[in-house]
C-alpha cells in the first residue's frame, strides 16, 4: 500500500482539524459506547462487593455506601450461610472447567492445526466437500447432538465424566479451530515451506520445524478462543453432567441463581469470579484473537 511520507494513516472522518463541536460529539459518542460496553460488567462488580440492602435502597445511591468482601467470603466457603452447600460447589466446578477447557484446547491445537495447515496449502481429493462439511458443522446447532450424546455416553459410561465433556466440546470447537488455523496459515507465505523443501526438509519437517515455529499468533488465537468457548459453555454440561461434583462452572452459577433466598449480591460475586478468567484471557491475547478471528471469518 502506498503510504506517502509522514501522512498519518487515514481512519475515516475528516483530514482537517476537527471543529470543537464535532470533537465534542465524538467524545460524547465514545463515552456512550464505553458505558454500554463496560458499564454492565462494572455494575456486576459493584453489586458483588455491596450488601443486598444497599441495592434495594431507594433512592439508589450513586456511590455505594459500603464496600464488602462478605459475598466473596460466602461463595469461597469462608463464612457459613444458608446456601453454603451450593456455594461449596463453585471451586471444585471451576477446577473441572479448567481441566476440560485445557484438554479440549490441547486436542484442538494438535489436531485442528495440522488440518488447517493442509487445507491452507495443499490440494487433495474431497477438499471442497470436506470444507463444506466443516462449514456446516460450524453452523450446526450443538443442541441437536446432545440427545445422541446422552444415550451414547450412557452406553459408553461417559455420562457424568469430564472425558465425556471433552468429547462433546470437541464437536463444536474443532470445526472452528480448523477454520481459524486455515485462515491463519493462508497469511504465512508459502515460500517459507518451499525454501525449506529446497533446503532438504521433507514436508513434515517443513511444517513442524519451519512453519509451526512462526505460527505462534495463530496458535494463540485458536487456543484462546477454544478455551473461552469451553470455559463459558453451559447447555452441554448442564444436561450431560448432572451428578454433583461432575459439572462445570456455568451450571453451578445458574443453579446458584435458581436457589430461593440467596441474595443477588452473592450470585453476582459467583458470576464475577466465574467470568474473570475468560475476560482476562481474552484481554491478554486480544491482539492475536482479533487478527485470528477476523481473518477466519472474513475468509468465510
Amino acid at each position: 500500500m502506498a503510504t506517502v511520507g509522514a501522512r498519518p494513516r487515514y481512519r475515516g472522518g475528516s483530514y482537517k482539524a476537527r471543529s470543537v463541536k464535532s470533537r465534542a460529539l465524538l467524545y460524547g459518542l465514545v463515552a456512550v459506547v464505553a458505558l454500554w460496553l463496560i458499564g454492565p460488567f462494572i455494575w456486576l462488580l459493584i453489586t458483588s462487593v455491596s450488601y443486598q440492602r444497599n441495592l434495594l435502597a431507594r433512592p439508589l445511591p450513586f456511590v455505594p455506601p459500603e464496600v464488602t468482601l462478605e459475598n466473596y467470603r460466602m461463595i469461597l466457603g469462608l463464612v457459613r450461610f444458608h446456601a453454603e452447600g451450593q456455594a461449596a460447589k463453585i471451586l471444585p466446578s471451576m477446577l473441572n472447567t479448567l481441566i476440560v477447557a485445557s484438554v479440549v484446547t490441547i486436542v484442538n491445537l494438535v489436531v485442528g492445526t495440522t488440518a488447517g495447515y493442509a487445507y491452507a496449502r495443499f490440494r487433495f481429493p474431497l477438499k471442497t466437500f470436506s470444507l463444506f462439511a466443516l462449514l456446516f458443522t460450524r453452523m450446526l446447532p450443538t443442541i441437536v447432538l446432545i440427545p445422541a450424546f446422552f444415550v451414547m455416553f450412557r452406553a459408553l459410561g461417559l455420562q457424568n465424566t469430564l472425558a465425556g465433556l471433552v468429547v462433546a466440546y470437541c464437536s463444536f470447537t474443532l470445526p472452528f479451530t480448523v477454520w481459524i488455523m486455515k485462515a491463519y496459515f493462508e497469511t504465512v507465505p508459502a515460500d517459507l515451506d518451499k525454501s525449506a523443501l529446497v533446503d532438504g526438509c521433507n514436508r513434515l519437517q517443513a511444517y513442524w520445524r519451519v512453519v509451526l515455529p512462526v505460527s505462534g499468533p495463530g496458535l494463540v488465537a485458536g487456543g484462546a478462543f477454544t478455551f473461552m468457548l469451553c470455559w463459558n459453555e453451559f447447555v452441554v454440561a448442564q444436561v450431560l453432567n448432572t451428578k454433583p461434583g461432575t459439572t462445570t462452572l456455568p451450571p453451578v452459577i445458574a443453579a446458584m441463581n435458581g436457589q430461593v433466598n440467596v441474595d443477588y449480591s452473592v450470585i453476582a460475586a459467583s458470576g464475577f469470579l466465574g467470568a474473570l478468567p475468560a475476560v482476562l484471557l481474552v484481554l491478554i491475547f486480544q491482539k492475536y484473537m482479533v487478527q485470528g478471528l477476523t481473518a477466519g471469518s472474513v475468509k468465510g
Binding site: 465524538l26 488440518a115 513434515l204 475468560a278
Partner: protein, 316 residues
C-alpha cells in the same frame, strides 16, 4: 537455511497423500463427535425413545450397546407439527431472529463507525469491545438481571433517582417485553463481534477513496454511503448470516432469564426442543423439533456457501 534434524526419515510422500495424512485426525474426530451423533439423533427422531427400557434392537460393538428403540416413522414429526405451541414458537423464533439481526447489525456498525475515528484511548476502547463477547451467557444474563430487576435493578433505581420514572418497569412480566429484552441482551453480547468484523473491513478500505470522495465534495454521510458501506458489503453480508444462525441457536440466555415464560411467551424453537428433550425426556419429539432447526441451519449454510465462498474463494 539450516534446518535442525528431525527424527523422522525423509519419507517421500505425494502432496495429496501428505495432506490427507494431516487432515485425517481432524476428519476422523469430527466424524466421531459430530457425524455419528448427528446420524444417531436423526435416527432417534424417528423412534419411540424410552430411556428406561433397555431391551430391543441395539448396535453392539466394542463392548458397548447402543439401543435403537422402536421405529415409528414420521409419528414424532407429525405430533410436533400438529402442536400449536410448535408453530407459535416458530413465528416467535422468526421475530426474535429478525429483531436480533437488525439490532446487532445496526449497533455493531454504529459502534464500528465511532471506534474507527481518531481519538485518544482508542486501543483501550477496542479492548473493551471484547468484554461483553467473552462473558458466558449465564453471566451475561445474571448481570442484566442486576440492571433490569423490578426490585433491586440499577435501571429502575437510577431512573427514579433522576426523576425520569415514577414507578418501576417490570421488564419480564409481559411476554412481548421479555422477548424484546432477550433480543437486546443477546445483542449486547453479540454486537461487539460484528463491530470487530466491521472494523477489520474498514481498515482495509484504501484512504485514497476517501481523499477522492472528499475532493469531489462528498460530506460525511455521502462518504459513508458510497465509500464505506459499498466496501463493507461482503462483511455486512457475513454479519447478517452469522447473526441469523446465532439467533436461531440462542438458548442459554432464555434459561437464565425467562425459562421460556411467562406462559411460553418467550419459547423459541431451540428452547422448545431443549425442554421437550431434557425437561420431559421425550427424546423422540425433542430430536424431531431440533432437527427442523438443523434443517434451517443447513439451508442457511448452503446460502452462505453459495454467496460468500463461491464469490470470494472460487477455487476453495
Amino acid at each position: 537455511m539450516a534446518v535442525p534434524r528431525f527424527g523422522l526419515r525423509a519419507v517421500r510422500l505425494s502432496e495429496a497423500s501428505f495432506a490427507r495424512l494431516l487432515v485425517a485426525p481432524a476428519i476422523l474426530a469430527i466424524v466421531a463427535v459430530v457425524a455419528i451423533p448427528l446420524a444417531y439423533s436423526l435416527w432417534l427422531s424417528f423412534t419411540d425413545v424410552n430411556l428406561l427400557r433397555g431391551g430391543g434392537a441395539a448396535i453392539e460393538m466394542f463392548g458397548m450397546r447402543l439401543p435403537l428403540y422402536r421405529w415409528v416413522g414420521l409419528k414424532n414429526y407429525l405430533q410436533v407439527f400438529s402442536d400449536p405451541l410448535y408453530w407459535d414458537s416458530l413465528w416467535r423464533t422468526l421475530y426474535f431472529v429478525g429483531a436480533f439481526v437488525i439490532e446487532a447489525t445496526l449497533v455493531g456498525l454504529g459502534v464500528a463507525l465511532v471506534l474507527n475515528e481518531r481519538f485518544p484511548g482508542r486501543p483501550l476502547m477496542r479492548s473493551l469491545l471484547l468484554v461483553p463477547w467473552s462473558l458466558s451467557r449465564i453471566v451475561v444474563g445474571l448481570l442484566w438481571i442486576g440492571i433490569l430487576d423490578f426490585e433491586f435493578g440499577a435501571f429502575n433505581g437510577y431512573m427514579q433517582r433522576l426523576g425520569l420514572l415514577t414507578g418501576s418497569v417490570a421488564f419480564f412480566k409481559d411476554g412481548f417485553s421479555a422477548l424484546n429484552v432477550l433480543v437486546s441482551v443477546y445483542m449486547w453480547n453479540q454486537a461487539p463481534f460484528a463491530t470487530l468484523l466491521f472494523l477489520a473491513g474498514m481498515q482495509s478500505i484504501s484512504e485514497d477513496l476517501y481523499a477522492a470522495a472528499e475532493v469531489d465534495g462528498a460530506g460525511y454521510w455521502q462518504r459513508f454511503r458510497y465509500v464505506t458501506l459499498s466496501a463493507l458489503r461482503p462483511i455486512l453480508f457475513l454479519v447478517l448470516v452469522l447473526c441469523t444462525v446465532n439467533g436461531f441457536l440462542m438458548l442459554d440466555l432464555i434459561y437464565i432469564l425467562t425459562m421460556g415464560g411467562p406462559a411460553n411467551e418467550t419459547t423459541t424453537i431451540s428452547w422448545l426442543g431443549f425442554q421437550t428433550s431434557f425437561a420431559f425426556f421425550k427424546f423422540g419429539p425433542g430430536t424431531a423439533i431440533l432437527y427442523t432447526l438443523t434443517g434451517l441451519c443447513l439451508l442457511l449454510t448452503f446460502i452462505y456457501h453459495r454467496l460468500i465462498l463461491a464469490r470470494f474463494e472460487p477455487e476453495a
